[in-house]
C-alpha cells in the first residue's frame, strides 16, 4: 500500500491555487445527477458519497445502469446535454467542483482528473496519429511547445510498453490491447492526481486484460497515482483495488476495504453479486441469479431500492431509506444493520414481519 505523503511528493506540477494540501484527495458528498427525458427525470445518481485518498485505488462495481459511469462522468462534468448535477459536493483537494462554471472546471479536467474509457476502439480519434493525440493535452493544457510535447508523448508510450516508433500509427493500426495502453499513456500526459478507468478491460480478452491490469498496478506504484476503477467485474477489483464501492440503482449499497467486503459481504446485494461468480474451487452448483430487474429510475421505489428484489426485505425497507452505517471500516446501507448493533445483521425476518415486497421474490423463488 503506497503511503499518501510519498505519493503527493512525486507530483511534478504545482497544486491548483485554491487547493488545500491537508484535505483528502477527493471527497464526494451526497452527489445527485439527474437526466431529463421526455418521459420524466431519471435519478441516475441519488446521494452517492465516498472518499478517495492519495495513492489509493477505489473500485466502483455494480450492474449496468446502476450509475457508476454517471458518477465518474459527474466528477468532471462530462455529462450529455440532458444531464445535470443537481446536488451534493465534489471536493478535489478541498475545492468544490460542483458550483464551478464550465470554464473554471475545465482547468481540472485531465490535469487533475483524467479518464481511460471503455473500448478504446472508438475512444481515440481515428484520423489522428497516436502520438499527436497524446501530445495534444501536453501542448494545449500545459502550454508546452509542440516539439517538447511530442518528446514527452514518446516517453509516455515507452512507459506503457509501446515502442516509441509506433507512436506514428493511427488507432486502427493497433491491436485492442495496444490501443488501451495508448489511452493510458494519454491519460497520464498531464500527470494527473486521479485517473478514472471506466471499464478499461471489458472489451479485451483475458490475457490482455491481465497485462493491462498489471500495467496499471505498476504505474500506480511508480507514479503514485490514485485510481478509480469502474467495472462490473468483481475479480478485476479484487486484484487491483484497495477499496471497493458497490452501487445499486444510483445509491451506495456497501463500501469498504476490498478484502473485508469480499470476505464478509454485509449488504444482501453484495452477497448476491459475490455468489453469482462461479467458484472454481467449490463443488458444482446451479448459478444463483437475482430475480427481477433494477428499478425504473424515473420513479424509484421509496425506501431501499433493492427491497423489491431482496430476499431479506422487511416492512421498513419499502418505506424508509436505509441510513449509511459504518462497521469495522465498512460502510453499508441496509436495514439489517442497526446503528446500535454490533455489525451483525438483525434476526432474519419471519413471515409476520415481512412486507409486500417479498411476494415478488417468493414468486420468483418458487
Amino acid at each position: 500500500m503506497t503511503e499518501p505523503i510519498v505519493a503527493m511528493g512525486r507530483r511534478q506540477w504545482p497544486l491548483p491555487r485554491q487547493a488545500d494540501p491537508d484535505a483528502p484527495l477527493l471527497v464526494v458528498d451526497e452527489l445527485r445527477t439527474h437526466f431529463r427525458l421526455e418521459s420524466g427525470s431519471v435519478k441516475a445518481v441519488d446521494g452517492v458519497s465516498f472518499t478517495l485518498n492519495y495513492g489509493e485505488a477505489l473500485g466502483i462495481a455494480g450492474e449496468s445502469g446502476c450509475g457508476k459511469t454517471t458518477t465518474a462522468l459527474s466528477l468532471v462534468r462530462l455529462l450529455p446535454a440532458n444531464a445535470t448535477v443537481v446536488g451534493g459536493s465534489i471536493r478535489l483537494m478541498g475545492i468544490d467542483l460542483v458550483p464551478k462554471s464550465e470554464a473554471a472546471l475545465r482547468r481540472y479536467r485531465w490535469r487533475e482528473i483524467s479518464m481511460v474509457f471503455q473500448g478504446a476502439m472508438n475512444a481515440l480519434n481515428p484520423v489522428r496519429r497516436i502520438r499527436d493525440q497524446i501530445a495534444e493535452p501536453i501542448e494545449h493544457r500545459l502550454g508546452q511547445s509542440p516539439a517538447a510535447a511530442r518528446k514527452r508523448a514518446g516517453e509516455l508510450l515507452e512507459l506503457v510498453g509501446i515502442p516509441r516508433k509506433r507512436g506514428a500509427a493511427y488507432p486502427h493500426e493497433l491491436s485492442g490491447g495496444m490501443r488501451q495502453r495508448a489511452m493510458i499513456a494519454m491519460a497520464l500526459a498531464c500527470d494527473p492526481a486521479i485517473v478514472i478507468g471506466d471499464e478499461p478491460t471489458t472489451a479485451l480478452d483475458v490475457m490482455v486484460q491481465a497485462q493491462i491490469l498489471e500495467l496499471l498496478e505498476d504505474l500506480r506504484h511508480k507514479l503514485g497515482l490514485s485510481l478509480i476503477l469502474i467495472t462490473h467485474d468483481l475479480s478485476v477489483i479484487a486484484e487491483t483495488c484497495d477499496r471497493v464501492m458497490i452501487m445499486y440503482a444510483g445509491r451506495v449499497a456497501e463500501e469498504g476495504p476490498v478484502h473485508e467486503v469480499f470476505r464478509r459481504p454485509r449488504h444482501p446485494y453484495t452477497q448476491k453479486l459475490l455468489a453469482a461468480f462461479p467458484n472454481i474451487a467449490a463443488d458444482r452448483r446451479a448459478l444463483e441469479v437475482i430475480p427481477g430487474a433494477p428499478p425504473d429510475l424515473r420513479n424509484p421505489p421509496p425506501g431501499c431500492r433493492f427491497a423489491p428484489r431482496c430476499a431479506a426485505a422487511m416492512a421498513i425497507c419499502t418505506d424508509v431509506v436505509p441510513p449509511e452505517l459504518t462497521f469495522e471500516g465498512v460502510r453499508v446501507a441496509c436495514h439489517l444493520y442497526r446503528a446500535d448493533g454490533d455489525g451483525l445483521p438483525v434476526e432474519a425476518p419471519t413471515l409476520a414481519t415481512v412486507g409486500v415486497a417479498v411476494d415478488s421474490t417468493a414468486e420468483g423463488a418458487a
Partner: protein, 324 residues
Amino acid sequence: MGGRYLARRGAQALLTIFAIILLNFVLFRMMPGSPERVLLRNPYLTQAKIEQVRAEWGLDKPLIPDQLVAYTTSTLTGDLGYSLKFRGIPVTDVIGQRFWPTILLIGLAEAIAIVVGLAIGAYAGWRRGGRGDRIGSGISLVLYSMPYFVIGMPLIIIFAAGFGWFPTSGMLTVGATYPSIVERLVDFGRHLALPLATVSLGLIGAYSILMRSSIIETRSEDYVTTARAKGLTDGRVLRAHAFPNALLPMVTIIAINLGYVVAGAITAEVVFNWPGLGTLTVDALSARDYPVLEGVFLLLSITVVIANLAADLVYGLLDPRVRT
C-alpha cells in the same frame, strides 16, 4: 498513400468512361431509325442517295464491332462529329467556347459553397437546438427545396430589375467596348454575380443541411467525449476532432452531388442567359442537334467521373483507414 488504391480507382474511372462512350453509342446508333433520321432530314432524297450517304457514313457496316470500333476511335481522337444547327462546324469547336464559362460558374460556386455551407452546417449542428441552428436549418431546408432557377428568378427581379445593381442577363454587356482590362473584368464580375449567387445558394442549402447531420452524428462519438475530457476548449474539440471526421462523408456527398449540380447549373444558365454548356444544351435540344447533345453529355459525364476520382483521392488523404 497506397499506389494500389490509386490504381484501382483510376482503373474504375477508365472503365466508367468507356461505359459512357458505349452508352452514347447505344443511344444514337441503336435507337430505331435514328442515324438516318438524324443525318438525313431531307424527305426528298432518293433511295440511291440514301444508300450512298449510308455507305459514306459507314452505316451499312454491322453495328458491332465495326461501327462501335469506328465510333470509339473517333471519339477518343477528339472527333465528335459536326453540329447540325451550325452547319459544318465541328462539335468540339461549338462546345469548346462554351466550356469554360460553365466550369467557372460551377467551380467558383462549389468553392464558395464548400467553405460557407460546411461552416454553417458545422456550427449549426454543434450548437444543436439553439436559435442560430433553428433559423439556419430552416433557411437551408427551404433553399434545398428550391430548384436553382427558382432561386435565380427572384434574384433577378429583386436585384437586377428592382434595384438595378446587376444586369439581367449575359456574360458581358452586348456591344460594349472596354478601355482597359480592369473595366472588362468589372463588367464580367457584375454579370457573374447573380448566377454565381444562385448556384452558390442552392449548394449552400444542401451542404449545410448534410454537414449538420454529419456533425450531430460525430458529436456523440466516443472520441469527442475523450477530447472534451481532456479539457480542450469547445472550439478546439469541434475544429480538431469533430470537424475532420464529420468531413469524411461530406466528401463522398459532394462527389455524388456533382451530377445534380450540373443539372442545376444548366437551369441557372438559362435564367441568366449565361453563355455556357447549359444554354448550349437547351438550344441544341430545341434544334434537335444530336451531335452537340451527344458531345455535351460525353463531356459532362467524363468531367463528373474525373471529379469523382479526385474526390476519392481527397477522401484517401483525409481518412487514413482506407489507405491500406
